[in-house]
């Protein structure tokens, strides 16, 4: 059976995904997860394809997860980081890409500190590009693995009440998740202190259905999904927060706060976690936490995307 949508060349953000395509990715991810549960966790689907991971920003889970995904599909996979490459000698992004192209890369997975860098690459590269996080802009594979995890745990996405809590203004994870969740028909609430939220009109201009608030208790009431975000230390240094302790007291997800959400609610975090700041350790390791599922599912989601772009 072929998919309902046309063949996609790049995954740069979720803004150009339809509900049908996300549903197909979720279905394929479930099949990939079955492959990862076998004793031989490898299929020949991308044999002879070359995947290059280009990481210009530090990453543990995303980078390793893409490597494992490419290997599970039998692709040749090479990982390069800016450190130790000719980028340090001043080689431009375009030259680096041309080198990789000449070396036979079929697909580039790119993380970059500058928003838009993967788009620039996609314009010039002959093969496919997957955005593994660009600045504060987008992190589509994280959002898709979050959507898969929600669907896996709760059986649906449409109609769910999802609260995203934390440093939303600086978060590419939040932005891609807002796209994905709204496309799938969830009711999304953004909750943060005003300094980490920005003006509501900024969000409502693109996503008029969002609920935007700084009242955490009201936001959590009856929520099906609580999505926490990493709070970066530099936010406090930039004067956006009086102190981490105050942030934690007002916006950290504790067991008492989780009790405001629906009894079946799940709590998520894209990692790495600042335990005791945005989420309390007992919540992060509770039965409601799906944080380790998110990491596991990340490999299967990336397999589904690599296959979708380079397979068949």
């Amino acid at each position: 059976m072929t998919s309902t949508s046309t063949r996609r060349r790049h995954v740069l953000d979720l803004d150009d995904f339809s509900q049908a395509e996300i549903t197909e990715v979720i279905e394929t991810t479930a099949s990939m997860k079955e492959v990862l549960g076998r004793s031989i966790k490898q299929v020949p689907a991308l044999r002879s394809k070359t995947v290059v991971n280009m990481f210009f920003e530090e990453s543990t889970r995303t980078r390793i997860s893409f490597e494992l995904a490419a290997k599970a599909l039998s692709a040749n996979v090479v990982t390069m980081s800016a450190k130790g490459s000719s980028v340090e000698k001043g080689e431009s992004l375009l030259d680096t890409m041309r080198t990789l192209q000449a070396l036979g890369a079929d697909l580039i997975v790119m993380r970059h500190g500058e928003a838009g860098a993967p788009y620039y690459l996609a314009e010039h590269f002959n093969g496919s590009v997957i955005n593994a996080g660009d600045g504060r802009h987008a992190h589509p594979t994280q959002a898709l693995l979050d959507l898969f995890t929600i669907h896996e745990r709760l059986g649906q996405i449409e109609g769910l009440k999802v609260v995203i809590v934390g440093d939303i203004l600086h978060s590419r994870v939040a932005r891609s998740n807002i796209w994905g969740l709204t496309i799938m028909g969830a009711q999304v609430t953004l909750c943060a202190p005003p300094t980490l939220l920005g003006p509501p009109g900024f969000w409502l201009a693109t996503w008029p259905s969002l609920i935007i608030t700084s009242d955490l208790a009201a936001a959590l009431a009856g929520a099906d999904v609580v999505m926490t975000l990493r709070l970066q230390n530099e936010r406090q240094q930039a004067g956006l927060l009086p102190s981490l302790r105050e942030y934690s007291r007002l916006f950290g997800i504790s067991a008492a706060r989780m009790a405001l959400a629906a009894p079946h609610a799940i709590v998520m975090h894209p990692g790495p976690i600042n335990e005791g700041v945005e989420i309390m350790p007992d919540v992060a390791s509770s039965a409601q936490s799906v944080i380790t599922d998110q990491v596991t599912n990340g490999v299967a989601v990336r397999m589904a995307l690599l296959y979708r772009l380079a397979g068949g």
Partner: protein
């Protein structure tokens, strides 16, 4: 486009019953068997074979389902990537006799992919192949052990199998040209 029916619902039922007798006879019973249906229409056929074997032999043979998309070698590079459906093999196949089940045997490439896939799940004592229709035109050295009906076809023709569980219509096999 013309469509000619070559098997009716009753014909299919009888063919499945005969295949079941042959499977039991060839293997001296069904105790060590696992049925594995190739998606999509091999799956309901494998389930029907299991149900019929339960009638005949009083033993419930486990049924697995196999999606071979990730093992295929004949997908066009153009056009949308196929959706990968789930695979589920409920028992360890190592040391058992696996009967692969599909609706139509044609080039043999699907079966080749299925053999590769099965290999990743274990090392069966033996693999046998059961198909409802063998239409010829093999491109690989593969043959079926149990055949519902041999149907000589031209390459331009198409075999269309309708199975109630998948197609929500009455069972039937048709040649379309």
């Amino acid at each position: 486009m013309t469509e000619k029916q070559i098997l009716s619902a009753d014909d299919i039922r009888r063919a499945v019953a005969r295949i079941c007798h042959e499977i039991a006879e060839r293997n001296g019973g069904v105790r060590n068997l696992v049925l594995v249906g190739i998606r999509r229409r091999g799956v309901p056929l494998a389930q029907r074979i299991a149900a019929t074997l339960l009638d005949f032999e009083g033993i419930m043979v486990p049924v697995g389902l196999l999606d071979i998309t990730l093992y295929r070698d004949d997908l066009a590079m153009r056009g949308p990537a196929p959706v990968v459906h789930s695979t589920s093999i409920p028992v360890d196949i190592t040391g058992r006799v696996v009967v692969l089940v599909d609706d139509v045997l044609y080039t043999g490439r699907t079966v080749r992919a299925a053999l590769d896939a099965l290999n990743d799940f274990g090392r069966p004592e033996r693999i046998q192949l059961a198909v409802l229709i063998d239409r010829g035109h093999r491109e690989l050295p593969i043959r079926a052990d149990f055949v519902g009906k041999n149907v000589p076809t031209a390459r331009e023709e198409r075999i269309e199998t309708k199975l109630n569980e998948v197609d929500q219509t009455e069972d039937g096999v048709f040649i379309v040209r």
